[in-house]
């Protein structure tokens, strides 16, 4: 009986989400220029097809019963896709391809995570790969908008630090057997310090902060050693103060924080515009395509929360915020029944990472935190970011016992 109920839930939820996506698609087709129609049709048709393929495949061939996390991710991704298709119709298909790659990565990573022994063996290669990717970026990237975090390969721009997020959690969590030993934590500490230090050298402070936060969550989950973590935080805080003290230009990037209205046309420009246009949206928004924030720099990336407040309204924006909370609640709840602490740590770290990143993004543009220029998970435009988010979702999916119930899991 319970399972039947869940099927109905899936069908209803899927229908609601599809309806939302169709409404977005038709709005864009109706309002957009005719030359963009094909792009929009391809984007939405491709996306909805992938969505149904995934759900029907998982249900029929894998016998999956619960789809909460995927429903959330599919909905968030389609909101981002709609905004991208509306603001940059020519980039919609590219964003779709990235999302499909992300979904593929999500499926593949789930398969990899099934074999815990394999994962344990892969932790050193993964650590090496993570560090190599960051070092490569540091050497070869050029400054883009004040940070050195983009690599350009044949017309494609890639942000390797996004992929490293996945590896960072993988490496951190894959040490479960030596649980509660401070020695094993030391190695991870060195690895984390290396990653975060490299990000600092790239001036990518937002991502560095996300890595540091994730490191704290993983360390806490592994050791429960609050004292050491407080020590680490204190050291980091001192380090941060020293950086701000001796590198004043770093501090100047955050000069507008707390009083963006005084920097209305300079470093508070984006934040104030987000507030102005969020306010214009009201509870129900002015409608997709009718906004004005979209004309401001980085509207579909850093400022996308404002675009959603303006065009979809405050209620939809609140639903997005709650989604990140829901993913973490899901991870915490399923940690209790997880087959392995590896899964529990992975899931909690991945969902905490996304929650933290969403906080930096949303509170950053609303001047509650300094604006660090990080993306809103699943929603912001950007290939690396969307792929990374979907792969992180595999960690959350893996903690659910139901995920590997029917193909057997190696223990």
């Amino acid at each position: 009986m319970k399972q039947k109920g869940k099927n109905v839930n899936l069908a209803i939820m899927l229908a609601v989400i599809t309806l939302f996506q169709l409404i977005c698609a038709f709005t864009l087709i109706e309002k957009g220029e005719s030359k963009n129609r094909l792009n929009i049709i391809i984007t939405f048709a491709g996306y909805i097809a992938a969505e149904y393929l995934y759900f029907i495949g998982s249900r029929l061939f894998l016998g999956r019963r619960s789809f909460e996390v995927e429903l959330i991710a599919f909905l968030l991704t389609s909101i981002g896709l709609s905004v991208t298709a509306s603001v940059y119709p020519s980039l919609a298909v590219k964003q779709l391809v990235a999302a499909l790659l992300g979904i593929a990565g999500f499926v593949v990573l789930q398969i990899i995570l099934r074999d815990i022994d394999f994962c344990m063996r892969m932790r050193y290669p993964a650590a090496f790969l993570a560090f190599a990717l960051l070092a490569f970026t540091l050497v070869f990237a050029k400054f883009t908008n004040g940070a050195k975090n983009w690599i350009y390969i044949g017309g494609l721009s890639i942000q390797p630090s996004e992929i490293v997020k996945v590896l960072f959690i993988f490496v951190g969590a894959a040490t479960l057997e030596k649980l509660q030993s401070n020695k094993s934590l030391t190695k991870y500490l060195i690895f984390a310090l290396g990653c975060i230090g490299t990000l600092f050298l790239m001036y990518d402070f937002g991502t560095a902060l996300i890595f540091f936060f994730t490191f704290l969550v993983i360390s806490f989950m592994r050791s429960g050693d609050v004292r050491t973590l407080i020590l680490v935080c204190a050291a980091a805080l001192m380090g941060g103060v020293l950086i701000l003290r001796f590198k004043p230009y770093v501090a100047s990037r955050f000069e507008a924080f707390g009083h963006v209205w005084d920097y209305f046309d300079s470093s508070g420009y984006q934040q104030t515009r987000v507030m102005i246009y969020s306010a214009s949206g009201g509870l129900f928004g002015v409608g997709l395509g009718n906004g004005k924030l979209r004309n401001i720099f980085a509207a579909t990336e850093d400022l996308i929360f404002g675009v959603i407040c303006e065009e979809f309204g405050w209620i939809m924006a609140a639903a997005i915020l709650l989604s990140y909370g829901a993913l973490l609640v899901y991870s915490i709840k399923h940690s209790r029944y997880a087959r392995s602490s590896f899964y529990a740590i992975c899931a909690c770290a991945a969902s905490a990472l996304m929650l933290f990143q969403a906080s930096l993004n949303v509170f950053g543009v609303n001047d509650i935190l300094p604006m660090t220029g990080v993306t809103l998970p699943f929603v912001s435009r950007g290939g690396s970011s969307i792929i990374s988010c979907w792969m992180l979702l595999a960690f959350i999916k893996a903690v659910d016992r139901g995920t590997y119930r029917y193909g057997g899991v190696r223990q």
Partner: protein, 463 residues
């Protein structure tokens, strides 16, 4: 495993912090939404720093004073109407702080927290604001001012509807001058403060009527030489424009005898004079017009003043200051039998779909004068027009009034401000008027003719 899941529970703390941050975000959004949405950088509402898309502002006869046509803010096609109503209607860029376009931004753009500016998108315009102004009377007043700086205000003393406001210097919003003139962004009717001069004698007289039962039998002395009277008050002298000899109160009011009113003020003392003025709203924060447009408060400050200062204050000099809208409300209260009506400017706000959002109501709750005092003041002000200013200037209006010529500087070359405050006691034309002409000569030569022309236009319009 147990320890891991226990530690995982600690992560609920993160969710709690995240939710707290989200609540804070939404709280700040909800509290500031209105202010943020109305920011001039909002391209939904403004182009090139000017309000572009908003509802119509109309006068009492439905004439459009400003509206949005094809995304452009369009003013009346009569240049005199544009100039005459500019400070009241306000400019789109917000230079004129108390203009309707600034004070009623929310209403004109149709902004609500619920829908944001969605209605603006849907209808291409916001809510319409209907005012009590009569653009023909405003135009007549603007032309009567004939290029002089100052204020004209007319209101219905029974209902509180303000039918005319003109504040000069003004400019044509379609052809803004490169050179700014002092005061052109100011609605002097609401924001101006003037030395009242002899118009303040109305208030001194009211205080005397209330406090001196023997007033009508009193005789005042105005003696002097070379055509100038003077009287000693305390340590010094108050001077008069004429030599009126021995004079009774009605005559003294007609002739605006400074000696008589300075000695009345001296006899009343600063406490009683201040008490009367404060009962009429001096030194009090005035209610905003329609709850939106703020105005200056009239001031009388006699703490620590000498007897001579009080004497000068009694004839509207010294440090007394009046706001034109307030003085108009005071004379309206006299006309209305003592009860002051709250002046208002916006009569109705309607949505693009025709729903009425707001209708103003006449609010006459404050008693400024007792009915007997009001009646006596009416009689004396009527006598001024009959015996001094001339009924021929206000034919058919049974006009009552008081002039004032306010010295605003000790310098010999300085020109005074000329004032006139009055009302028609003909029940067919229940209108009161205030006129201020700056840098003028005697009010009978400047302010009274302006009042005469404007009241003639009022009479013509409401016959």
């Amino acid at each position: 495993m147990k320890s891991i899941s226990r530690r995982a529970l600690t992560l609920y703390l993160l969710i709690f912090v995240f939710l707290a941050g989200s609540v804070l975000t939404y709280y700040r959004l909800a509290v500031n939404a209105d202010k943020w949405a109305m920011n001039k950088a909002n391209r939904h509402l403004y182009t090139d720093g000017g309000l572009a898309t908003a509802g119509d502002i109309t006068d009492r006869n439905g004439n459009v004073l400003v509206s949005t046509v094809n995304g452009v803010r369009t003013y009346s096609n009569d240049v005199s109407v544009r100039k005459a109503t500019l400070q009241t209607v306000g400019d789109g860029a917000g230079y004129i702080a108390g203009g309707i376009q600034t004070s009623f931004k929310d209403e004109l753009t149709g902004y609500t927290i619920l829908d944001g500016i969605f209605n603006l998108k849907r209808y291409g315009k916001g809510n319409d604001v209907a005012t009590t102004l009569d653009s023909d009377i405003c135009k007549a007043a603007y032309s009567a001012m004939n290029g002089q700086d100052g204020v004209v205000g007319v209101m219905n003393y029974k209902t509180g509807e303000i039918i005319c406001i003109v504040s000069t210097p003004t400019y044509d919003p379609l052809n803004k001058p490169a050179e700014e003139k002092e005061g052109m962004y100011l609605n002097k009717f609401f924001k101006g403060l003037y030395t009242p001069g002899s118009t303040f004698k109305i208030i001194t007289l009211a205080s005397a009527i209330d406090n001196m039962p023997n007033l009508e039998n009193m005789t005042f002395e105005c003696k002097g030489k070379n055509g100038k009277g003077q009287i000693q008050i305390g340590e010094g002298y108050v001077f008069c424009s004429g030599v009126h000899g021995n004079i009774k109160i009605e005559k003294a009011f007609n002739q605006s005898c400074n000696c008589a009113f300075a000695s009345l003020a001296d006899a009343l003392g600063k406490d009683k004079l201040t008490a009367t003025a404060e009962k009429l709203g001096f030194n009090t924060q005035m209610n905003k017009i329609n709850g939106k447009i703020s105005r200056s408060s009239s001031i009388i400050k006699l703490d620590g003043s000498s007897a001579l200062d009080v004497g000068w204050a009694g004839i509207g000099q010294y440090t007394t200051l009046v706001n034109p809208c307030h003085l108009l409300t005071v004379v309206s209260a006299i006309a209305n039998g003592g009860t002051a009506v709250e002046p208002y400017l916006v009569s109705k706000i309607t949505t693009p779909s025709g729903k009425t959002l707001y209708t103003s109501k006449t609010n006459n709750s404050t008693e400024y004068f007792s009915p007997t005092t009001a009646q006596k003041l009416q009689k004396y002000m009527r006598s001024n027009v009959e015996n001094n200013y001339g009924d021929y200037r206000f034919s058919g209006l049974t006009m009552c009034g008081k002039t004032g010529t306010a010295e605003i500087s000790d310098s010999e070359d300085a020109k005074p401000n000329a004032l006139f405050a009055g009302f028609s006691s003909n029940p067919d034309y229940p209108f009161a008027i205030i006129v201020v002409v700056e840098n003028s000569t005697y009010s009978i030569k400047t302010a009274v003719p302006v009042a005469s022309k404007v009241m003639a236009a009022v009479k013509k319009a409401y016959s």
